[in-house]
């Protein structure tokens, strides 16, 4: 969690310096979701994520340097500089992207699961999406289709209470997403998304159930984003007091306190972790700084398998 936090704090800093451009959506405050969930999955499971995916990518094993280089737009980024912050990909890690059309990744996850089922593989496809995505038709279509065809998709809703500036209660009719999936016969549960241990346990159980039964499941992880939606957001839609209230539940502080209280770690351990993380981030920035720009001659590369012109 600390790795994500520090990577993103650095990204924000680099954004201010205009090293990183475009849209940048920070995950700060929500780290327990990505970390707990990703650790509960197996290496050969599939992951489909959103544009708020730096944390997922990092925990999944994409090196911080390649993530940072991608945000710089460099050729040594994990998508060759063609994706940027919102479109991190890794074929080796079965990380099927950062998707920036809200809800657009859901059908992709359905199809990946269909392929696995048809090929007789026991993979789980974990699909991350926000509370806003549950408004989209594709969310409902995907629940229906996975339930109908019994496809091994684990739907992971990262409910951070807002879709950009629209509060949850202002965009979800009965103010509770967890009631939706059962209407399609999909098992559904809500978990505290600020508690990394609870997240890991719940996602592990859900993923193993999906693996065993081949049927979809839905988990809502209740969380909160501490930062603005993106770097363009003046946060007119919520009060500072509300943000401060949620910050008391900071997933990193919570874990730290619990681990210290249980004497699982010491203050010295924490300092070591901080130092290691700082070094990793520094090296990541260096990796990005030293990366090459893709040649403009290669602009059209990867549009098709073979050049058409």
């Amino acid at each position: 969690m600390l790795r994500i936090r520090r990577l993103e704090e650095k990204s924000a800093e680099l954004y201010a310096k205009q090293k990183i451009r475009g849209f940048l959506h920070l995950y700060i405050g929500e780290e327990a979701v990505g970390v707990g969930a990703m650790r509960a999955l197996r290496d050969d499971d599939n992951v489909v994520a959103t544009y708020r995916e730096h944390g997922h990518a990092l925990v999944r094993g994409i090196p911080a340097g390649e993530i940072m280089a991608e945000m710089y737009g460099k050729a040594n980024g994990c998508s060759g500089g063609r994706g940027g912050s919102m479109h991190l990909f890794s074929v080796e890690r079965r990380f099927y992207g950062g998707h920036a059309i809200v809800g657009g990744g859901l059908p992709i996850a359905v199809g990946l699961a269909l392929a696995n089922k048809m090929k007789g593989e026991s993979r789980v496809t974990a699909c991350f999406f926000g509370d806003g995505a549950t408004d989209e038709g594709e969310f409902h279509e995907s629940l229906n289709l996975t339930a109908l065809w019994e496809l091994p998709v684990l739907f992971i809703c990262e409910n951070n209470r807002y879709a950009m500036g629209t509060a949850f209660a202002r965009h979800v009719s009965d103010n509770d997403i967890v009631n939706n999936p059962p209407a399609y016969g999909v098992h559904s549960e809500t978990v505290d998304g600020m508690d990394v241990v609870a997240v890991e346990r719940a996602v592990h159980n859900a993923a193993e159930s999906v693996r065993e039964t081949g049927e979809p499941r839905f988990i809502e992880l209740r969380t909160y984003r501490f930062r603005a939606h993106s770097m363009y957001d003046a946060e007119l839609y919520r009060s500072k007091a509300e943000v401060e209230e949620w910050k008391k539940l900071d997933p990193i502080e919570q874990l730290k306190d619990r681990a210290l209280a249980a004497t699982l770690i010491t203050g010295a351990d924490i300092e070591t972790i901080e130092r290691d993380v700082a070094r990793e981030i520094e090296e990541a920035v260096q990796f990005a700084e030293q990366g090459e720009w893709e040649s403009i001659d290669d602009l059209a590369r990867h549009t098709y398998a073979r050049d058409l012109s």
């Binding site: 599939n46 980024g77 994990c78 998508s79 060759g80 500089g81 063609r82 994706g83 479109h87 990909f89 890794s90 074929v91 099927y96 992207g97 998707h99 059309i101 657009g104 859901l106 059908p107 992709i108 996850a109 359905v110 199809g111 990946l112 699961a113 269909l114 392929a115 696995n116 048809m118 090929k119 038709g137 594709e138 279509e141 995907s142 229906n144 289709l145 109908l148 065809w149 590369r301 990867h302 549009t303 098709y304 398998a305 058409l308 012109s309």
Partner: protein, 324 residues
């Protein structure tokens, strides 16, 4: 002689038999036999796993096809008609077309999507669109429009084999046509235009359903002593620009026939290509024979009046050669 519909079915069967990664999915492709009866009988032969009836959710089943292609399958997705494909455009434009590039070449989407297109059956404005040009304007996908029975078969084989997303537009008036067909013929490249009727006075450039109208027009022009060359574009993306220019370099006159609305049509793209690449070959202004800019009406006489028809092509050609 075989029908267009049977030729597609023959290709589907062959693909399903030869490659276990291939499956067909779409609305009513199984029990019903396909809205245009293309997949009739395939459910019995291949079972529900490989001939999948989907719920009514174009966006999600096209997206699932993209996902399955990413996952190593070779899905053939049938969207009943282009009209309903509007609900899946997001998946096409924002996922299928960009995945390879946006991932820096790590992921590819070898999906084939088939759909019926075009007007002519008096099924009015919501069932008669020709929107191939929308698709043909998107880098990252390929677009085919088989006009002949042989192409209906061969292009599907080529589309499934291709590592990129390929969209096939089957004109709804063509499913019943009969034509020569050899299931074992050597496959010609689907990405090249074809000369369907050689001629020296004027080029009639068309694709899909309009090719047949252009052929009839060429025969009529012949009776009046005008030799028309009919070019079937076949592939709408990539567009075989050299073939278009080469034809006009022979005839020095061009009529472009397209069932889409004129504004922003493929006919516009072909015309602009000629203006850029064969301007000095032209002896007369380029003419476009397209659909009138109205929603396609239901009444037969109105529908006929809205669509490109043989007399309009003949007239445009005559005007072009200077005796109209």
């Amino acid at each position: 002689m075989t029908t267009y519909r049977e030729a597609i079915r023959t290709a589907l069967r062959r693909l399903l038999l030869e490659d276990s990664r291939v499956f067909l999915m779409g609305e009513d492709v199984g029990r019903y036999g396909g809205a245009y009866a293309v997949s009739k009988g395939l459910l019995d032969e291949f079972g529900e796993d490989r001939i999948r009836d989907t719920p009514l959710c174009e966006s999600t089943f096209v997206g699932a096809g993209i996902g399955a292609a990413l996952g190593g399958m070779r899905p053939i997705v049938e969207v009943m008609t282009v009209n309903f494909s509007m609900l899946a455009l997001d998946q096409v434009v924002n996922n299928a077309a960009v995945m390879r590039h946006m991932s820096g070449g790590q992921f590819e989407v070898p999906i084939a999507v088939r759909m019926a297109t075009g007007a002519g059956k008096q099924i009015a404005a919501q069932h008669s669109h020709s929107l191939e040009n929308w698709y043909a304007s998107i880098p990252g996908i390929k677009v085919l429009a088989p006009a002949t029975v042989q192409d209906a078969h061969d292009m599907l084989l080529a589309a499934v084999e291709d590592p990129d997303p390929v969209f096939i537009f089957e004109h709804q008036m063509l499913y019943g046509i009969e034509g020569p067909f050899d299931p074992n013929a050597t496959l010609s490249s689907p990405w090249k235009a074809a000369v369907r009727h050689p001629g020296s006075d004027v080029s009639l450039i068309a694709y899909g359903g309009s090719v047949h109208k252009a052929m009839t027009a060429a025969e009529e022009l012949e009776k009046e002593g005008i030799s028309a060359e009919v070019i079937d574009l076949r592939s709408l993306r990539p567009l075989d620009r050299p073939a278009i220019s080469a034809s006009v370099s022979r005839t020095h006159r061009a009529i472009v026939i397209d069932e889409a609305w004129k504004t922003g049509s493929l006919a516009s793209e072909v015309s602009a290509t000629l203006a850029e690449e064969a301007f000095y070959e032209l002896d007369a202004p380029i003419a476009r024979v397209c659909t009138r800019e109205v929603p396609i009406p239901y009444a037969k006489h109105l529908e006929d009046a809205a669509l490109p028809q043989v007399p309009a092509i003949v007239e445009a050609a005559k005007r072009s050669v200077g005796n109209g």
